[in-house]
């Protein structure tokens, strides 16, 4: 088999990637493999062989910098802020950042605040005014238009929920979508999350027109 990058040399490196439960196999020649980024495994192809790094990679441990690098790219679908930017400025971009980065920031907030949950006042009027404003300008338009094209079939589970069930009230649909949005965020499926968010926004817009 020829190397899938240069298509000249014989492939002698087989690389199996498992992302989100989907297994993909790649075949490279050793020369091309050296130029590709395999994270901690890249060391295998280098002249010098850092045994410790290789071993820790085998054991599944990641060095802190690599862990950080991986998370730097996580982006909040609402405001477009990446985790890297958050770490740099220690400033959130929007309310949704808290749920998007929840897993990553939880311990930091706990350390910073000495607590992990809010005690004290709650908004008095929280549920009354929420639905009236649907056209939230949040500067994430570019993200959604690009997002749809990149996930063919990725939303197979989306249709057939809200719209197919006219009996369900708009609120119930929104609540359902909202729950799935949070779920998607937890699984770090940001494209799905962006689409779910758009659906919620559209529904809120519709609810406003109808009611």
């Amino acid at each position: 088999m020829l190397c899938e990058v240069c298509k000249i040399r014989e492939a002698n490196v087989q690389y199996t990637e498992v992302v989100g439960g989907v297994k993909t196999e790649h075949h490279f020649c050793s020369q091309c493999a050296r130029d590709l980024d395999f994270g901690p495994y890249s060391a295998i192809f280098d002249g010098e062989f850092p045994f410790a790094e290789f071993l820790s990679a085998l054991l599944g441990a990641e060095t802190p910098s690599q862990k950080q690098d991986k998370y730097q790219q996580i982006v909040c679908p609402t405001c477009g802020m990446t985790y890297g930017e958050f770490v740099k400025n220690s400033c959130f971009g929007c309310a949704d950042c808290y749920s998007v980065f929840d897993v990553l920031i939880h311990d930091n907030i706990k350390q910073l605040q000495g607590s992990e949950s809010h005690k004290g006042k709650r908004p008095v009027y929280q549920n009354t005014g929420g639905s009236e404003d649907a056209a939230a300008p949040d500067g994430a338009g570019d993200l959604t238009s690009g997002g749809t094209g990149n996930v063919p079939g990725g939303l197979g589970n989306l249709p057939g929920t809200a719209e197919d069930n006219p009996a369900a009230s708009a609120e119930a649909q929104i609540a359902d979508l909202d729950r799935r949005l949070k779920d998607a965020l937890r699984r770090e499926e940001y494209e799905t999350a962006a689409l779910l968010r758009d659906r919620i926004r559209a529904l809120k817009g519709g609810a406003q027109k109808n009611g």
Partner: protein, 336 residues
């Protein structure tokens, strides 16, 4: 004598965000302008809240000097001073209550009160908070509480601060370690005036370090306890000095008055030092004025932006010293 006599003023600030918009750092100028406009419009019936009248101030329009003036009078913070974006504010007549839109967070509610009134300030701030919330839903999370731009404010979004005057305590050798120790109680203390490491006038602000995991009342109680403790310790030292070295104390206070009343030019450091000594003398009853005199207001008045705005022209450092002396001569009442 009044307990808490060295607690100059109390302040409560609440940070809130409107759930409809992304946080200020991600807003474009257009979005910010729209949001600020809608907030101003939605809250235009604010007059009468807390029995006060309010003016709408366009913070981006009043320029840097205007904002500096507000910073000196402790209405706004450094973030708002430096920020270049559409910002507006409802400010009460006496400047004690303010609602700033599009600062570090969408809405910043601040209530200041003279003396030791943290509980009252919190009550008023909470009332205004409900007034705003009745019109604008907040970014709120069951777990994290009120969501704010900075993770240091999340939860209650509240900062409770008491300004204390500690002229005798601050001269003690243990004061530096005392300040450090306060961190363990969850409060921080910072000097209010001065340059570099030097503090002018021994005014300090005690405030809560953490905003989550405590109720607002617990924060008020915590900051209050520390402020009262510091006040009591200051009183002990001063009472002892007043009893044992009364002449020295009186001499110090009267000399301070003399300089402030007759100087032709006076630097910030000198003015702060003498005002601080005079304030202590006034509180301890060593010196009495013919008319009531709020020395804390004088301290706010002698800062650079205040003097510049009074003279209506830019002033260099020497001119500032002259203007400062002039201002003090005008303001200081005669002695009984």
């Amino acid at each position: 004598m009044d307990s808490s006599r060295n607690i100059i003023c109390s302040k409560v600030r609440l940070a809130r965000n409107w759930s409809e918009y992304v946080f200020p750092s991600r807003l474009t100028d257009e979005q910010a302008k729209e949001m600020v406009g809608r907030l101003c419009e939605g809250l235009k019936d604010i007059d009468g809240q807390l029995n006060m009248r309010y003016d709408l101030v366009d913070l981006s329009e009043i320029g840097e000097l205007g904002r500096r003036l507000l910073k000196e009078r402790r209405v706004i913070n450094r973030v708002i001073l430096k920020k270049q974006a559409p910002m507006s504010m409802y400010l009460s007549d006496d400047e004690d209550v303010s609602l700033v839109f599009n600062g570090a967070d969408h809405i910043r509610i601040q209530v200041m009160k003279p003396g030791f009134q943290l509980g009252e300030a919190w009550k008023d701030a909470s009332q205004l908070d409900d007034f705003v919330n009745a019109r604008f839903p907040y970014a709120f999370d069951r777990k994290y509480g009120y969501l704010t731009s900075y993770p240091t404010n999340v939860g209650t979004g509240m900062k409770a601060a008491a300004t204390v005057h500690l002229p005798s305590l601050a001269t003690g050798k243990k004061f530096a370690s005392l300040i450090t120790d306060m961190g363990r109680f969850g409060v921080s203390i910072r000097g209010l005036y001065g340059e570099g490491r030097e503090n002018y006038g021994a005014f300090y602000e005690v405030s809560n370090q953490k905003t989550m995991g405590l109720t607002e009342q617990e924060i008020v109680d915590l900051v209050g306890r520390v402020a009262v403790q510091l006040d009591e310790q200051e009183n002990q030292v001063r009472d002892m000095a007043n009893t044992n070295h009364r002449l020295i104390r009186e001499d110090e206070v009267y000399k301070s008055y003399g300089v402030l009343r007759y100087a032709r030019r006076i630097s910030m450091k000198e003015a702060m030092t003498y005002l601080s000594q005079m304030m202590a003398g006034c509180t301890d009853g060593l010196i009495r004025f013919k008319e009531p005199c709020d020395i804390y207001q004088l301290i706010l008045g002698i800062q650079a932006a205040g003097l510049k705005s009074r003279s209506r022209k830019p002033l260099d450092k020497d001119e500032l010293d002259v203007a400062r002396a002039e201002y003090l001569r005008e303001q200081l009442p005669e002695l009984v």
